[in-house]
């Protein structure tokens, strides 16, 4: 067991490996990276190597996946990511007002991380919540729809307090 992929993560990854034919372990690369990222928040060279070793896939091929998909963080990020959708339907409903408001609340610009290392703010492309624009997504999994300034305030203070559902 490598130091990077602990037993719990290995078990998770194995569940994904089992979904594919036994000689197609490479198919699990996408999720293996995600699982490692969930633990370490962003992916460094050694993480890529650990996934490559674990799945027996050439390092360069794991690297190609890393750079292709947008959910992977290749630079340091905070404990949580807040992404504001700025695709068309959200833009038509004030996505940039939302973004500006979140920037103000957090005291950072889009792309930056708060000083305490808690929150990174980014833009997202359409997250399939267009009829509930403007929309945001936190940690690439929790959707917030029809956000208003009050809601944004609440969402952010919940993250800060660490009692986000």
């Amino acid at each position: 067991m490598s130091q990077i992929i602990n037993e719990k993560m290995a078990k998770e990854i194995d569940k994904w490996v089992a979904k594919f034919p036994s000689d197609k372990k490479k198919s699990a690369v996408l999720m293996a990276l995600r699982i490692v990222q969930d633990e370490y928040k962003w992916l460094k060279k050694e993480h890529v190597q650990a996934v490559a070793d674990y799945l027996d896939v050439p390092n360069t091929e794991v690297g190609e996946v890393l750079t292709f998909y947008s959910l992977y963080q290749q630079k340091p990020v905070g404990n949580h990511t807040v992404k504001v959708c700025t695709s068309l339907s959200c833009c038509l409903n004030g996505a940039y007002s939302v973004l500006g408001y979140v920037e103000n609340e957090l005291g950072i610009k889009c792309g930056q991380t708060t000083k305490d290392g808690q929150i990174t703010l980014q833009e997202a492309e359409c997250i399939a919540a267009c009829a509930d624009a403007p929309a945001m997504i936190i940690d690439d999994k929790d959707f917030y729809r029809r956000v208003t300034p009050e809601k944004v305030k609440e969402i952010i203070s919940n993250i800060k307090d660490g009692d986000r559902p």
């Binding site: 409903n93 492309e125 399939a128």
Partner: protein, 447 residues
Amino acid sequence: MNSLNQVCLRNTDTDQSWTLEAYESIGGYSAWRKILKEKTDPNLIIEQIKKSGLRGRGGAGFATGLKWSFVDRDNPTQKYLVCNSDEGEPGTCKDTLILTLNPHQLIEGIAICAYVMGATKAYNYLRGEFILHYKRCEAAIKEATEKNLLGADCLGSGVDIEIFNVLGAGSYIVGEETAMLESLEGKRGMPRYKPPFPAMHGLYGKPTTINNTETLASVPVILEKGADWFAELGTERSGGTKIFCISGHVNKPGVFEVPLGTPFKDLLEMAGGIRQGRKLKAVIPGGTSMKLINANDSLDMKMDYSDIASKGSALGSGGVIIMDDSTCMVQALCHMMRFYEEESCGQCTPCREGSGWVYGILKDMLAGKAKPGDVDELYRVAKNIEGRTICAFGEAISWPVTSFVDLFREEFEFIVANNGKSMVESKLPGANHLAFGWPAYEQRDKL
């Protein structure tokens, strides 16, 4: 409005609609049980699907029955079915509802299609952010497997079917079917050259069928209620219902499953009409990859494949984006093109270079840095991408750009001639940045 939500969203207002119990209480899995019991000839099922007029709901509108007939069932090799739940086309938010509220119907549709293909394994590929959706689909598969509706020797029929839910990692192009196959193989989502077609050479080189979530979730209802019933819901060349997602400048944006052929005007009314009593300016009828339609043309448009095509656009994914007269078309297009520039996989030169070029010109226009002749340049570059790429992403850049310029050329010329000042902005204060932002939103919510 009793014609609303009859197929994929038929159970969405029932309690815990995503459970097996709720799904079976409305007749769920009866089509699948019947097939397993009678060992229905797959060709008969294909005939039914053809007769129903069902067309692909993922964007291209390809006839589903015909697609199903491409895979050679008697080929003894492993065959696969892939369900495309990657929903990423801007303006589209329908599969998200099926996956969370009606996963069993999708699972039943996948099982039926896999049976027809002779595929014992199916993958349901969800976009990486759909974690709740994934959990619902996992729970549904678990419940169905416990009842032996899935798994080995389903209900003693000798039919084996395993379905696996998998998650993407953030990429629009993976929604393209061959890119999805690459992604399933653990690679970058680069579309493949066709031929060979997936029906011959798909996932892991094996015969594969790929269908959209809404397409597959329609199948159980077609078989339950009959191909004729489904066909008659819609219009001549557009059988059944379609889920439309109405977003943008409307009072009550929402997702509505309506018979194909429903007048656009009715749909607009369901969405509460144009916000704040403003005027309709233009409509994108099927996600941002489709061509723009102006207000006049939209008002007598029927929402089916043929009628939208006759207006020069396409039904696409059913993502209907409404823009009112406060919208600066240059800004709207610029936002759209930032997306395409970002998401181009970079494999084909016309798309890789063209998307950046187009986005660059639009940014220059807004920044007041455009040169005379740039509107023609924009048009030429976009036009040149069309038909020159491996996948339809090229058209997804070309069509919006050329249609925006065709319909609103004067706005593009104006912004170039006036150093970035928008023609719309000059008439309507606050139109800048497409954002009425919070005020519009708050007023809308009070309705």
